[in-house]
Amino acid sequence: MKIHIPTKGDNPLRHDSNFDANWKSFLIGLGAQSVHSNDMSNDRIDYAVFEIEDLSVMFELARTVHAWLGVKPEFLPEVVPKSYFGQKSS
């Protein structure tokens, strides 16, 4: 999931000094396996990795993120091929 983080002018949540910690906890609470942040020229884009097997889960995740942060996320799929034996390795 790619999320364009709003500026402080666009979202008052960004004024909270704990924003980064709260945001990361929020995403982990949704099931994110990792969260990466990238700042370039005052543009901040975050990437959260989710393992999604049921496509309908995407809509619920997106709805929750949109409601919390006020921006729509984009999904950048990374399709993991089935293993040779048709079973996921643990």
Binding site: L55, F59, K72, E74, F75
Partner: protein, 298 residues
């Protein structure tokens, strides 16, 4: 009895080929309704609109586009094994390069274009979906097969002969950056395409779409083929058979050894090239080499 082969002329019958090429081609969009027989011919060529079987035919795969009130436009690769799952969640499905030679070859032949560059793709647009404003580097023809879809098309190309497409609001690729005007006052026309409607959108023309209900459409695109490319490709195919043109570049720099400059045959080759380009038969062979047709002389 139905004519077994579809012609390009049938697709644009209501305006005619002369008017199409003088008034619309690469200039402005055109929307016409196909006659019943032509539309029936198109539907017969496309065959059953069944997503798994069409996914199996799509030579460049399937894209699933998902967007909505909470999701930015997201693109997923799909195939025959996953396309139904994407359909269930309301994705728009784009079946890329579905072989329909009865249609694409006729269009290519009428345009005088290489058949390999004219491709058919199918869209299954989901309810409440649409493409945001963008222009393509391809010449695009669309036939609405089922349902309705609204197209908002600007009256003239925004970018003149763009080498790549561009989505408005995104950072343009360097090759089109200078082609996009800083200021403009676009005029947008809305075409509500119903089954049997045909739409031509010239390369570089900004358009967006909106679907209120699920619908199928056929897209025929003629992908960026330029005169420059014809010259390069045609000449390459003509000249590569010559050992002199294949010989190693030597003596091209003024600073090289004087003995090496004696091996510079480029001025002689340019004389050969001038003669070739002055020969109408050789020019015809350039076209044929590019179109993939056999040369008229050995």
């Amino acid at each position: 009895m139905t004519d077994p082969s579809l012609s390009f002329d049938q697709l644009i019958r209501s305006v005619g080929c002369r008017a199409f090429f003088t008034q619309y081609w690469q200039r402005r969009s055109l929307s016409v309704d196909l006659d019943k027989a032509t539309f029936a011919r198109v539907l017969a060529d496309v065959g059953p609109l069944e997503i798994v079987s069409i996914a199996k035919k799509a030579r460049e795969g399937v894209q699933a586009w998902i967007s909505g009130p909470d999701i930015l436009h997201s693109v997923f690769d799909a195939d025959a094994t996953t396309v139904s799952d994407f359909h269930k969640v309301g994705a728009t499905l784009y079946f890329v390069d579905v072989p329909l030679p009865n249609i694409t070859d006729r269009v290519a032949d009428a345009l005088g274009a290489p058949r390999r560059r004219v491709k058919a793709s199918l869209f299954l647009s989901s309810r409440s979906s649409g493409a945001s404003a963008h222009f393509d580097s391809n010449e695009n023809f669309t036939v609405q097969l089922t349902g309705t879809k609204r197209w908002f098309v600007e009256s003239a190309p925004m970018a003149v002969m763009p080498p790549v497409g561009h989505v408005l609001g995104h950072r343009p690729a360097p090759s089109v950056e200078k082609l996009i005007p800083q200021r403009r006052a676009p005029t947008e026309h809305c075409f509500k395409l119903k089954p049997g409607a045909f739409l031509y959108v010239p390369r570089g023309t900004v358009h967006r779409t909106s679907a209120d209900a699920e619908s199928w459409s056929l897209n025929i695109s003629y992908a960026g083929t330029t005169w420059l490319e014809l010259l390069q490709e045609g000449l390459r195919q003509q000249l590569v058979v010559s050992p002199r043109w294949r010989s190693t570049v030597t003596g091209a720099s003024k600073d090289c050894d004087p003995e090496a400059s004696g091996a510079n045959i480029f001025p002689e080759l340019i004389d050969e090239l001038r003669q070739l380009l002055d020969d109408p038969q050789e020019l015809e062979n350039l076209y044929r080499a590019f179109l993939g047709a056999p040369n008229s002389k050995a």
